[in-house]
Assembly symmetry: C2
Homo-oligomer: 351 residues x 2
């Protein structure tokens, strides 16, 4: 089973689908986007450059969701990924405090921008404030991702507010990656606030339109907004106009759509959580997003076995800074989740 | 006239239009895109992530335009800007030889990636091979932009082939920015070739769809294609799917469209070139793209005077590394070009 050494990154599983494969791999909604995002989109005849900062109508619509904001506080980007890239390039150099396990793009995107990641290990999937306080003093930025990929956890309001206070006092920025803000089961999302906060968000998860690549950053820090625009002027220019139009239309989707999505995700969450518990896995109950991160004794061997013999794709926790776990996305319908769980049950007999 | 100090970058003129303004500023076609790019685009219901490298159909269609290529040689990007950004980040660190005057994003995009620009000054708007040979030995990459923004010049076939030979011998990469390849008046475009070449291109200028942001890089250097994909995986993921679909459709535009565009641009070129010569300006006759770069005695004063008193936007040559010149884009209809020339004539009486 030396082939398990191929497991160096998730890219090994890209494009693997059909043919009886059950994929707990990909981190994106499987449900269709709301019809508002697609119907009534007329591709205009004027396809000249748009504003680098983003179309004014879209930024104005977004500003209504952020208290005391205006369109000037936003930069529309090619997904949350580009928002993060622009922010780190604007803030470079310096250290970034990253809770671990982390979204697998965080360390490379930080290093690519010439910054240095510093890790604070989560305790039962949540930020350990003692460790956080020790490590934060040396940093320029803190990166928070609640709800989290890959843990599925949300931080308590107390923790988030304490982080607001500590960082404000020390003059440290918070980057709050809230792309799962609408996929949260336990409470309303808490939008981290402050004059030192940069929020990253996206239309990808809420409206199931990952491939359209429209996200944004929000901040009260004028210099960061200005620097992000200045960098984007050279590195990609305006975010594609048709995508921005689709995002604007998606915002008119009735609130019921989001509630219905939450209902579906909660059902799937319950199914996979119970299923994995029943199989003896030790895991945290997801409170948001759509991931579970169970402990696994020989993760490389097991992930490879599942893929090779059972056509089940799971991701190595190691890719997310968690070498003794595996990650499963439950962006699958209930039937597939059940079938996947059955195959995992069979695979367990082999190890 | 101390307000002329506001002229620190082209951003001062962004969004300035209507109200009687004649803009020779913006570097994008004013003509509408071909109907092929817009009609028949059905936004699909599946908006999940696409391949980071780009949609296979689009890459296969492109591969027919590049001898002995396959879809594997391409990465589809958010315009030529992102292609350049990815390439420089993949090649960093090292020195990049840049002909000066240059497209104004080149120096910042090179520096942002942690590379260092080195300049070779053009002679009458063309590469000076003696200076080029002296400076290239120290470099990792050479950046060629023929037809050129802002000079409007094309390099001779002999020069381009000599550059191919010199760089190949020295083991230096060529990045060939060919976004104006279809806007060329004097001969067919010459596609710089070799195992050490990375070509950057775009649908923006050929099909008048700048705001859709679809470009690409092509290379035979497998490691550069791989590294560009690896970086893009973290910094922006797939290029927006609807834009890629529009680009694929645009490729079915009959060749006559491009020939008709060339005819229009050539007429405008003749008009502005003769007009500026008649006004006594010293300038190079454009052979491609849609820019002129005349000498101008007090460029800051003149650009500001034109804007403030005559509502005519021109760009400072200084932004393009050419402090004793001004740049005019002729992406305007003939009537506007004539009106602009009349106003320039009046302004000249004031200096």
């Amino acid at each position: 089973m030396s082939e398990q050494n191929k497991l160096s990154s998730p890219s090994i599983f890209i494009g693997k689908q059909g043919n009886g494969i059950i994929s707990f791999g990909s981190g994106q909604p499987d449900l269709p986007p709301p019809r508002e995002a697609i119907e009534g989109i007329n591709i205009r005849n004027d396809l000249r450059y748009g504003l680098i900062q983003g179309e004014i109508e879209l930024r104005e619509a977004l500003s209504k969701e952020y208290p005391t904001s205006t369109a000037d506080n936003f930069v529309i980007t090619n997904g949350a990924s580009e928002a993060l890239d622009l922010i780190f390039r604007a803030l470079s150099p310096g250290k970034v405090l990253v809770p671990r396990p982390y979204y697998y793009s965080y360390p490379p995107i930080i290093k690519l921008a010439g910054m240095e990641p510093v890790y604070t290990d989560l305790n039962e999937g949540r930020i350990d404030l003692d460790d956080f306080k020790k490590k934060v003093t040396d940093c320029k930025v803190v990166l928070i991702n609640s709800p989290s990929n890959p843990t599925g956890r949300i931080e308590s309001l107390e923790t988030l507010k304490e982080i607001e206070r500590i960082t404000k006092k020390l003059g440290i920025y918070i980057i709050s990656d809230e792309v799962y803000k609408d996929l949260i089961y336990e409470r309303e999302n808490y939008n981290i606030q402050g004059e030192h906060v940069i929020t990253v968000n996206s239309f990808s998860k809420t409206y199931a339109m990952c491939g359209v690549r429209v996200g944004y950053l929000w901040s009260n820090v004028q210099s960061i907004v200005d620097d992000a625009i200045a960098i984007k002027t050279h590195t990609s220019m305006n975010t594609n106009l048709v995508g921005q139009d689709m995002a604007l239309h998606a915002m008119s989707t009735p609130k019921e759509y989001i509630l219905e999505q939450q209902r579906i995700w909660r059902g799937r969450r319950d199914l996979i959580y119970k299923g994995l518990c029943d199989l003896g896995f030790d895991l945290w109950k997801p409170e948001g997003a759509f991931y579970v991160l169970p402990r696994c004794p020989k993760p490389k061997k097991f992930v490879w076995l599942l893929y090779e013999r059972y056509k089940v794709i799971t991701y190595l926790g190691d890719w997310f800074g968690s070498p003794d776990r595996i990650r499963l996305s439950y962006a699958l319908d209930n039937k597939e989740i059940e079938e996947g769980l059955n195959r995992i049950k069979d695979a367990l007999k082999e190890v």
